[in-house]
Symmetry: C2
Amino acid sequence: MGNAKWEQFAARMRELTDLGRALSLLSWDQSVVMPGKAAASRARATATLDSLTHSKATDPGLGDLIDDLIDDPSLDDLRRRSVEVAKRDYDKATKVPDDLVRALAEATGIGYQVWTEARPASDFAVFEPHLEKIVALRKEYADAVGYANERYDALLDDYEPGLTAIEVETVFAELIDGLEPIVDRVLAKAGPAPAFLRGKFDVGAQEAFCQWLVGHLGFDTAGGRLDVSPHPFTIQISAGDTRQTTRYTADELLSSVYAAIHETGHALYDQGLPEEWLDLPIGHYSSLAMHESQSRMWENQVGRSREFVGFLLSKLKERFESSLGGVTPDEFYEGVNHPERSLIRVEADELTYNLHIVLRFELELAMFRDELAVADLPEAWNKAVEQHVGLRPSDDRKGVLQDMHWSGGMQGYFPTYTLGTLYAAAFYAKAETDLGSLEGDLKRGETRRLLEWLRANIHSKANRYDTKVAAEKVLGAPFSPKPFLDYLETKYFELYDA
Amino acid sequence: MGNAKWEQFAARMRELTDLGRALSLLSWDQSVVMPGKAAASRARATATLDSLTHSKATDPGLGDLIDDLIDDPSLDDLRRRSVEVAKRDYDKATKVPDDLVRALAEATGIGYQVWTEARPASDFAVFEPHLEKIVALRKEYADAVGYANERYDALLDDYEPGLTAIEVETVFAELIDGLEPIVDRVLAKAGPAPAFLRGKFDVGAQEAFCQWLVGHLGFDTAGGRLDVSPHPFTIQISAGDTRQTTRYTADELLSSVYAAIHETGHALYDQGLPEEWLDLPIGHYSSLAMHESQSRMWENQVGRSREFVGFLLSKLKERFESSLGGVTPDEFYEGVNHPERSLIRVEADELTYNLHIVLRFELELAMFRDELAVADLPEAWNKAVEQHVGLRPSDDRKGVLQDMHWSGGMQGYFPTYTLGTLYAAAFYAKAETDLGSLEGDLKRGETRRLLEWLRANIHSKANRYDTKVAAEKVLGAPFSPKPFLDYLETKYFELYDA
């Protein structure tokens, strides 16, 4: 039986994959290429394909195939894993009533629109009823999908399959305990940011540099592209087609370069997923945190290391001699790592970034535990920023309104940023345990040995295991925030003699 | 009844439209943006969406709705036309067995691939069995779809609904009778091509010029794009999203400029289709010949007129002073219109281009009337070129293997090029009858009055009528090749004092 049913199952997965590819392309095109006047017609085409995909993904025939295959003893482990993941997805998709899917799509569509206007006006009141509605619908969603322990688990599960709120709380508590003393000690020593980071940097030269850099790091440009978009992102359209973006401003150099390094981390993961699995659930990336572990590792452990920064500066000087000619490697290293207390998450440095995530997670959790009302969110936000970051936002634009996630109904997403950061440090430490120090490699701008290790230990595993299990297998030990704390301590105490 | 059934019908048309938009984007992306390694995965995604579209387009529920609506007296003329066109499409799609659809897709997929290798090698023998197969399948296709008179009518009908082989034969005979004496007389006087057409033309400057030019001609860049691809084309992705391409070579200037003008003609038509009809069959372009009438008119009647050429040269000199500084308007006018006998269709000039089309049509017709075997095609081709063009191809690369159409199963397509050219001249003459001479406008580079006339008389009608009927309504008289012959005679006798 197994084989014929499996072939039918695989054919349905291929069809869903191809619909997903078309949707990915519609989305990439919309962010990078699409003319402005196409917004409405593109939104409708996307909705039509979404709806077609949803009806294929919830087709009872697929459910029957999954039920037949899930107990089939003749399936090998790889096929069984694909069927298990498919079952999880199918059960979830069929549990959510169509009315709720539509209501969420509508509320977040409008909510996002209202947010784009409320943020610059710093007007939480106009956004509040929409967020109220979105949070209520996300609670309905969590209740429909179901959870063992608490509502927030159902939201988390969309981004980190199997992870629970309690687990995140435990990890984040340990992180904060270790992080706060390091932050205090380092910031007491760090002065203002170096001046050379601002200047005039020809956009064409930045583009040429980033195109060279992503290729140098191993990004296969015959199987991908680097383009421009206001918010950098990476998307895998299909096998042989992974696209990343960055953005350029003429008065600043590092944002384009470090966005490109970050996105290259994502892109290398996508390009390393085994092509023969790509049509099956086992072939997808493991989770958002796993994806973020790759981007953060390339951006920080590699890209902001003293060794690689020296290499980077020498290469940048070839193109930006007039602005960077007098900058020393030590100055540049401090420049790309300079930490400070700040209000805006996306501008935060490596040392303080996770404080921003922890406070968002705490607020989300309080909302979904019915301990915090949306109306009380701005004040709760400001208090939390004061507690964790040590500053108080001057207005909601720089406070509760700064991120788009909640307007899009993406509650449960924020923790993946920090989890990814913690995984990055843990994986990098393990890579150096396995390979020996990578400092010599990075000094020469060489990343091949690291990439091969990532290919073998992470990329090639794709969605073979849920991220928590996958991480334990890579590390050979349970995961903890300790490698990240060790990494920060070593790096920043050395940098500021703290 | 009408209203509820109509709404169901319209919803199905919207869904088909959205699937078509996704397919259009996949296709545009493949030609302009896609990384090379994605070829196989893109082909499969396209095939999956094609197959989904086909199953929606042949769904018996759609057939029932069409049957109910086609006799509904409460429908207004516009809705009735949409239902009639939908019925024609539905009947055709359901008449072709799935096996034949697949066999054709496969044979043309492989056939095209083999052709790309056979052409540079000038090796017809390797292509012959594939073309044999394709022609046999296209005959099967014609028989499945059905026809009143002869097989070729069924092929033509895909591109020019309602047109018959006999009608094309009649028009082409009249065209050739008038054209050959003009060609002979003009070529006896025309010398070799002017030397200034070759030189060094910075590609960046060409790009900037073409971007300016297409906007100047009325192309709405907020609702479209101009990109680069090896074979220039125009595609409407959706409302507010019409994309055209051109291509640049550093040693030649006119090919990028005239490709951009040609494609702008296509793009202005697409951008002029009424947005409120776009989801319905009535909102599509009327036919390929109608589309080509627009591109040819802008390229030739406008773009190669003595008046517009003067304007164009003055604008080009602003950017290419070193190459064009010494060129006079008269020299430039001769340069962009210089005629000569040639072997390659896509390089042929306005005077001799249609000779290439007529011979292709005659050969296609002979094949589908079972009067010419594929094996005898190369010799028949060479004879036909000698007869119509007065040259003999040195090899099949410059002969029967030069065009991709037959390898793609597009028999019946070639006549639309010439029909479009003939319509262009007829429409332009009618525009000048209605508006008075446009020479003064073109001298100033002004095309607004012409565009408004095209919007009112052609673009806004979309697929309200089949092209033959639409043309008669525009012209107020039956269509004939005479305006085109008059145009050529006036233009070329004046140019060469013939």
